[in-house]
Subunit: 366 residues, 4 copies
């Protein structure tokens, strides 16, 4: 149970280390008959690609995906889809030093504690490159969601202490700036702030927000496999995420029942909610309102400032991590959060297909 | 996949509705040889029992647990442990009215959307009584953790806007006041505030904090089954939880790498962290520091104030929910959070036993 | 992973020991909206009840099932269905002796090896009473199969060396004789033979055959979750089963491709097979022909003859197992095999609902 | 749930079609610290390689395995091991014809029924090449078993009606003849018989036997995850297997309790069985005796004789399958059976590590 397999029906198995030969994913349980090409996957991968701005790693990777199975004549066959991206930029030499100590804020120490040793090159399996498999799978899941009319919008809600202004919210802006913020002005301020952080040899965190529109109601399984619980695991499994919330999230702690409850009303013959404090999920089941969730992302742990740690000989030492590191993880993590949400939604949609015997009988009578 | 089964190796299957004959749980995968009696389970159940203070439901339930299998001569046998609590206080008559409309903030609407109809008596399966099975299983998991020297402390960190003062933190106080707060003064203030809310026919939320001490390092599976991700799902699967965080949680979003990174140092020949912003988990694996997590609990949705909703005939109506309802969920949810954490830790500890071939070889040579 | 939970979507969790308070099962993942009463379950349980003929245990049990959850106003609600049967006939005194040695052919020794000790009363968890939970779940699964037009016929194909004659096959005869054989004459011969075995203080085995009619094609998942592989696990998990085969089974080993291949042909606009050596499954997927499977059942291990074994003090001893034991397991196991097949078919039918995107799109547009 | 992922803790995810770019497997849950090289895998793959004798496909494949992840400095790291074999010999042209009809005995028809269409080139995912992933994973599982002192011997017990003579059993002979038979004379006879079948444009089946030596007792989980049930699923999931048995298997149906029961006795201070009719498993748990299992393999369905089937236009037609096909599957399937057994044993051994609290406490105190 090394934990690299995810999902109940729509399953993904990711693999690969930062400086191994390749990273990849096997998607098992994808329905047959979906048009799918490497271009569909590539457009997702390009959103997490390094080297896109002065704030992201200048790693020289093209990250070109190759599909090895599961597609025939341009369509999914229902059998496992194996995809990989070759690692071109190994530069193993750079990492000889970090093999000797534990980087603060990284998983070096805990991998050693767990496994007895570690592939120290670029963080090995705990590297951000691990997410390539998630994003490739997310691209496929998104194709399925699109066919069901479900759309996901994900963006940076805040970077450090710079928050977006919802009054200026422009979805088209999200992919227009390197911050992946839906507010042009906030994005500019965030970039200015990041330059300062870089000058200070420091880094900062932020919050990613994700909104799922046109989600059908009735999705999510009561008790342990609630939709919000499943999304929580999906999002919290991404490297730097330290917090997760749905709807009003932590704000509910200081709210009241009268303020926090969403009323119901009729509109055009349909039951809708009068507000959406719940974030689209009641009792673990989608209620037809947009699903709104947020993830708190920690500051990049690799900073150029001097830090204290311990070396292999058990001595307290000071270290300066060399090389060029992103001062912020948030922008590149946006598509990772979106991918994990997409994969989870598909899985939960599929699970929900057996909730009612009348719908099952109709299905098999087709 | 109705979602009432949880766990990979230490598995629990809960069942039962608020006003059915009984509620219960089957625990499968409990190791043989653990001394276990109904008293061990009862002491956990008593912590979530209604009617313990003026702030909790006056439901007339003893909630006496009965163990039906899996124990022989006072010890677990390694086979499934089936436990149940009979529902004495059915009072089905009280609920005839709520069968006709959707209560705001409850799962009435989404259960109907998912299943086509619902057991409306007392919320059916979405009732807080569903957690009895979780807590009974949590009592067993805690026995296992105790044998491994691991301790969990859980309490109300805040109720509404009343927060505990860590300077006054007294663990013995937690079970001394009906707020389950480790700060006597905060507990008093919270009770005064709750009385006001009740007078206003309103309710409020709060935050539960949980600290795991003496957790061994190396537990948690990289990538999807990270320890924090697994805990997130466990805790978010509890009814009223809208947010989850680990360590500094949402605060990391406005922190910096230099402030948020925990350094390492040698102490008495062991590697320890110089701080614990990470909350005891790095890269999804426990690092030997205390695990600290928090859950945001929403205000009780059942309030006596007039609310707007929709009835079965598709008409907008105003409702007043009758009966006596807790103005706060937090105190009774403390043991539920602790139980879900305990169950998850046992499962993750067991999963971690196959991380290293040298330890496996030693195990089988015993 | 004590192994008492089965299924992917339609899941069952059984529990209970032969001489504990009760035995039971929790069924999770049953769709909402199925009419279900205790009578539906009882009729299945009655087929495995002891004391029905001179060839089955005279244990004084009524085996009356009680449903504790998951049903509201006579219909399944989609939440877990908990069912139990109280053990009335404990007679623990009878079993003081067998606590001291290992019965040949029983699981006494291996339970001790695995768990360090065992509930020795009546075999504890390894007793045939463990199957009560399977059969109760099988009754529910059968209700679902019936709604989809699928029927299962199960019977004793042979008892010892007495085989049924397919020329005399009469399905109505199956429940007419205590042998559960579809051939009246064979049943008579089998009963005569069993009387001899009893006089010789011996027991015998047999073969159970199961035929699934009107099974839709396309069910079963390629590679590891093939329909035949899943059925094999289901049936082999029943206590006394030592062999499993599908279609021509072991006969294929001496057949030829030209004889064993089933041709295809058009009939009334549909593609059918010209023969059914494959037993209704090709490449792990149902082909629309009847599914035919067989299980080899070993002779009852409890016999009155003197046997050699070892006692707790590590001495070689001779034993004579007292009490009255069935000379044959086959008749009572017929409904157990049918139940495991039913549960597995429902699970595989549900899993197959996501094979094609066009059908998924149609489902969600309902 | 397309079914290409197998295992609970030691998990494998296979992928790939006969004529896609590659076939492969991801092994997740392999412990850290095992020396492993591509040579270890290759030696297993070579045992199933085509073109090794006149009785196996002359397909021009080297089947060279490449390890892409999970190994660092020659040792497993505990992270997923991704392995692939490129398909060199596509020859897609050969398969244009079979896209137009359903080959008897193959999965062409059922894949179409399930998925709506199929990758018809060489059988696509239902090709024997699918087993490459299983065998590569089996090579790793075998390394683990070796470290625990467990050995597996697998061979052809019969080919058509030619059976081995146990009096002449020579384990060294198994890999000496293209039949993988442990009896030189039987192997010769089998080859002569196969030549006849080829002349008759026909094929034949056989039985594979597998013996696991030095298996520790206490492995296997009662009720649904019995060791024999798990092995049954593992082996029945291999393409051409139509029957599975353990120990005396189908012979028990005509045996008696007095003959079939294995007595116990003391030998050198240990409890052993006086015979092994049970095949090393009692109550689903290993008893310390050798595990003996058998699989019935059907005749190769691809034969050169004229066969009847249906074409895409819904017409009854006669077909002659062209190309060179193995007249027997058995020899190449020997290593596949062994691999599935190895993978299953490792998984079940790992699951058994949590059976007893005393052993768990000792483990964590290491």
């Amino acid at each position: 149970m090394a934990g690299s397999i995810y999902g109940n029906i729509f399953k993904i198995a990711t693999w690969g280390e930062s400086h191994g030969k390749a990273v990849g994913v096997v998607v098992d349980g994808c329905p047959a008959g979906i048009s799918l090409s490497e271009t569909d996957i590539q457009s997702f991968l390009d959103r997490r690609k390094p080297g896109q701005s002065s704030f992201t790693t200048q790693r020289n990777e093209d990250d070109i995906v190759e599909i090895l199975s599961g597609i025939f004549e341009g369509k999914t066959t229902g059998t496992p889809i194996s995809m990989l991206v070759h690692n071109k930029d190994h530069r193993s030499a750079d990492y000889s030093q970090i093999s000797q100590y534990y980087r603060p804020g990284h998983a070096d120490f805990t991998f050693d504690e767990k496994f007895g040793f570690r592939d120290y090159r670029g963080g090995g399996r705990s590297s951000g490159r691990e997410t390539i498999g998630r994003v490739a799978a997310g691209a496929i899941a998104t194709q399925i969601l699109n066919k069901l009319g479900i759309r996901i919008t994900t963006y940076a809600k805040s970077i450090g202490n710079i928050e977006i202004d919802y009054g200026k919210f422009d979805p088209d802006e999200i992919r227009n700036n390197p911050m992946y913020m839906p507010d042009k002005d906030a994005a500019k301020k965030a970039q200015a702030m990041l330059k300062e952080k870089m000058a200070e040899m420091d880094s900062c965190g932020g919050i990613i927000e994700c909104v799922v529109s046109d989600m059908p109601s009735g999705i999510g399984e009561p008790v342990f496999d609630k939709l919000d619980a499943s999304l929580a695991k999906a999002v919290m499994s991404i490297g730097a995420v330290k917090g997760f919330e749905i709807g009003d999230g932590f704000k509910v702690a200081t709210s009241t029942g009268s303020a926090n409850n969403d009323g119901f009303q009729m509109k055009n013959g349909k039951i809708i909610k009068t507000s959406n404090h719940a974030g689209g999920i009641l009792g673990g089941i989608s209620d037809g309102s947009p699903i709104i969730l947020r993830a708190a992302i920690k500051p990049t742990p690799s900073i150029a400032q001097t830090q204290t740690t311990v070396n292999k000989s058990g001595e307290d030492i000071n270290i300066n991590i060399k090389g060029r590191h992103d001062p912020i993880i948030v922008p590149r993590a946006v598509v990772v959060v979106e991918s994990m949400v997409a994969v989870t939604l598909v899985d939960m949609l599929f699970l929900s297909m057996t909730s009612r015997i009348d719908k099952i009988m109709k299905f098999f009578r087709q």
